[in-house]
Structures are given as C-alpha cells and as structure tokens.
C-alpha cells in the first residue's frame, strides 16, 4: 500500500476551533501537499482546490460568479423544485429505498447543471451513470484517507477517460460554438449558458488561470460535479441517521422537518457540524509561520481536526456532542462550524447545499433567504413519511478512514410514488 509520498519537516495537529480557523485563514498554508497523490492521474491535479496564491484567486473570481444569490434563488425556487418531486416519485416507487442512492441522484442533477454537464434530468440511467463517476472522483479527492490509494488511482484513471469522452466533450463542443457565436456578434451574452464549464472556456486564454491544459479544464468541471453531489448526499444520509437516533427520545422531529423548512435547514447545519465531510483537513506550510501561538516551520504538515473543533463547548454549548438543531449559537459562529472550511479555500458551494446562515432569532426572511438544497430534500423525504428500515442496516463506506461516509442507507416510506 502506498502511503503519503511527501516529506514533511514535522506534523502539527490543531483541534481548537479558533486555532483551526486561524490556520485556514493563514495564506502561508496551502493544499499542495503530497504531490504524487494529487498529480499523476488523480482527478485533483491542477484544480482550483489544489492551487494556491494568484492562480487560486483568479480561478475563484470567475468561478464564484456561478454562486451569486440571484443564481442560488433561481436554483432553489425554480429549477430544483421542478425536478425534485418528479425524481422522488420515480425513485421512491415502493416502501423500501436506499436513501443515500436517492440523495446522490437528486444532488447530481443540479450539480451537473452548475458544472456545465448536459444531462436529461428525467433520465435515470444517465443520472446513475453520472453518480458512478462522482463516486470514483470522490474516492480520488479523498485519496489521502483511502485504504488503497493505488486502487483509487486506477479507478479514477479509468473513469476519467470515459467521463471526458462521453460527457465533457459534447458539453464543451456545444458551449464552444455558443461562445464563438457570441464573440462574432450573432448571440447575446445573456443567451450563453451560466455554468462552470462556460466561464472556464470564456476565460481560458487568461494566463493567470493556468487552464491551457485541456485536462485541467475537464478536471475542474469534474470537481464541481463531484463536490456538488457527494457531500450533499452524504449529508442527507447523516442527517437522517442523526434524526432517527434523536427521534427515539424526542418523537415528532420528522414531522417537524416535513412542516418547517427553517427547522430542516437547522437539521442540515447541525448534521454538518457533527459529521463534517472532511473530519480532518490537511495543509502544507509553504513558509515559516505562526498560528495561534504555534510555531509552524516551512514544509510542516498541519492537520486540522474540524470534527473536534466543531465540538468546542465554548462556542456550541455545554453539550456539543448532542444533536440539537435548536441549539443557541452566537451568530458570529457558523452553525455548521468548520465543515465548509474557512478562508480562501472555503467551499464555494456552501450556500447551494447549506443555504445562508439562519437568523439568530425568529424565522428567516423567506423572500431573500436561501435554505439550501439539502434542506429542501430533507423536507420532501420527510413529507413522504421516511422512517428507519428495521430489516436492513445502513452500511458505512469502508474504503475510507472518514467516519462520515455511507455506502448505503436503507429506509422505508409511508407514502411513495404518486404521493402528491
């Protein structure tokens, strides 16, 4: 088995919330560690998450344009609701279902749209094929926690070739033709697609972006497809894992989610806090630095234990281990803790999946507020009467060391198919 292949001067682990936050904001820490694990065929080679400094900022400037509030509201209030219930009617067509598999299909639809991958939102075969690619790319992105990194590299290489040929290239060709039409004056700007692939193609000649390599563009698109699918699906499974456990002592939580989108969003945030997709983030010190009083020499590996930081009793209350979506948290602290990261590399899709921060008091202003797609999904499956499946146990993803990942999550529904 191949272990980490980068030499570090030392390893420093931080587990206090404010220390981790300071580290995430420190410009001397990068994500360019273990080059072989993230180069040589890995899906993350050269992508925005791995870049640093000027290149990273240039990429984020153009890519962040796809996460503006007006775009988020369009997705949440128009595009997603139209597909959400249609897909749930098809996916939940009998009492028993795999919640994780359902969530993956729901999430991949809009992730593909945002990434710039053209797909028929009502074609389950297409959606499931994209989900298989997402699964491969997710393993590649988490290769440092993989129990068999060599197998993951091969899996990613095999998936990547077909993904580029069958999905990215057709979408690329369509967009390139539209961009050319716009550039020669025959197509208005507002007729261009609004997605990651389109903005990358429009700005590809900017040397600051370092996108001359075609493969890098493809990998950037794959990153947004994977990032917009996998973590949302895992959060759904984790949310109901926590809800089912809490429901045993506090009945009525599922019904409350079904009736109250604000509460569903709080459930999602509390889930993210307790079950971060990346429980331990890693950074490399590009130069000597000091973080919260800790001396960090150049070429140190800095491990940021977000799972511990998210349980800081000083910030999250005296009982931080308990699943409590109603817990009182100072509004200056995100209810999801560090689970979307912080600093320059904070997750660009955090508002898509998790929505805007909930207000400290009262209900959110529905006219402006973004609840997040996962909250919408939680509410809808609750309306279908979701409950645990006593005959089948959920299965954790044993390919990874991360405790927050599921391979399957069997559930049952009281209402399915033509429920509406």
């Amino acid at each position: 088995m191949t272990a980490l292949l980068t030499e570090f001067t030392t390893t420093i682990e931080l587990d206090r919330y404010e220390d981790i936050r300071a580290a995430l904001f420190d410009p001397n820490l990068s994500r360019t560690f273990d080059r072989r694990s993230y180069a040589e065929g890995n899906i993350r080679d050269g992508i925005v998450s791995i870049t640093h400094g000027t290149v990273h900022r240039a990429r984020r400037r153009i890519e962040n344009t796809q996460f503006r509030p007006d775009v988020l509201r369009l997705y949440e209030r128009d595009l997603f609701p139209r597909v959400l219930n249609d897909l749930l009617d098809v996916l939940i067509d009998q009492p028993a279902a795999d919640l994780f598999a359902v969530a993956e299909v729901l999430s991949v639809v809009l992730a593909a749209l945002r990434a710039g991958i053209d797909v028929d939102a009502h074609d389950l075969d297409q959606l499931r094929e994209l989900v298989r690619y997402v699964d491969a790319f997710s393993q590649g992105s988490a290769i440092l926690d993989s129990k068999d990194p060599d197998a993951v590299r091969q899996l990613v290489a095999d998936a990547y070739e077909a993904f580029e040929r069958d999905w990215v290239r057709p979408s690329w060709d369509r967009r390139a033709a539209l961009i050319e039409a716009h550039q020669d004056g025959s197509l208005a700007a507002d007729a261009l697609p609004h997605d990651i692939l389109s903005v990358l193609l429009q700005h590809r000649n900017d040397p600051k972006l370092e996108l001359a390599d075609t493969g890098r563009v493809v990998r950037e698109v794959a990153t947004y497809l994977q990032g917009g699918t996998h973590t949302s699906a895992q959060t759904m499974a984790n949310a109901f894992d926590l809800l089912f456990e809490a429901e045993a002592t506090s009945p009525g939580l599922i019904e409350r989610c079904a009736a109250d989108l604000d509460y569903s969003q709080r459930v999602v945030h509390e889930t993210l806090r307790l079950r971060p997709t990346t429980p331990k983030m890693r950074r490399r010190a590009e130069a000597d630095t000091v973080i919260a009083g800790h001396a960090v020499p150049k070429d140190s590996l800095v491990i940021l234990d977000a799972a511990s930081g998210n349980r800081d009793p000083g910030l999250f209350g005296a009982d931080p281990e308990r699943f409590d979506p109603d817990r009182s948290i100072d509004p200056s602290v995100p209810r999801w803790g560090l689970s979307f990261g912080a600093g320059a590399h904070q997750c660009p899709g955090r508002s898509v999946a998790g929505g805007f921060p909930v207000p400290a008091h009262g209900q959110a202003d529905d006219d402006q507020h973004i609840f997040g797609l996962v909250a919408l999904e939680v509410r809808e499956v609750c309306r279908r009467g979701i409950q645990p499946d006593p005959t089948r146990r959920p299965e954790r993803d044993t390919r990874t060391e991360r405790f927050t990942r599921w391979a399957s999550y069997p559930v049952r529904f009281e209402r399915w198919s033509t429920f509406r």
């Binding site: 904001f25 900022r57 984020r60 400037r61 962040n64 344009t65 509030p69 200056s332 320059a344 904070q346």
Partner: protein, 75 residues
Amino acid sequence: MAVEVSVDPELCIGSGDCTRIAPAVFHLDEDQGVSVARPAGVAATDVQVLLQAARGCPTQAIRVVRDGTVIHGSN
C-alpha cells in the same frame, strides 16, 4: 468618528460574503469579479457590521480604518 473601508482587489475572490452581511456597503463589480466598498454605505453602517464583514472575508481583503487607525486588516 470617521470610518473608511477598502477592499484589496488583488486579494478579493468575489465570494460575496460581505455583500450579504453589509449590502449597503459592498457590491460586486462583475467585470472584475471583486467586491467594492461604497463610501455612502460605510457612513450609514454600524462599525460592528463592518468588522463582521471584514472578519468573515475569506481572503482578509477588507480593511477598516477608524479615525485614521486600522482596526481590521493590514497597515
């Protein structure tokens, strides 16, 4: 009390967090992909809100100066 706010366009990545926290102050220049501070909005906004936006900026691109003293950001 004179408060000034500026955004370093070299550091800003256009995340838009500041526009949500202090919409009267910050708006995104879509041509450049970065946030810009409006002086009129600064004058009408509580300095604690400005500091919240500055603290939350992912690249620490926002500088807040009060009565000539930098209270957030680099000198």
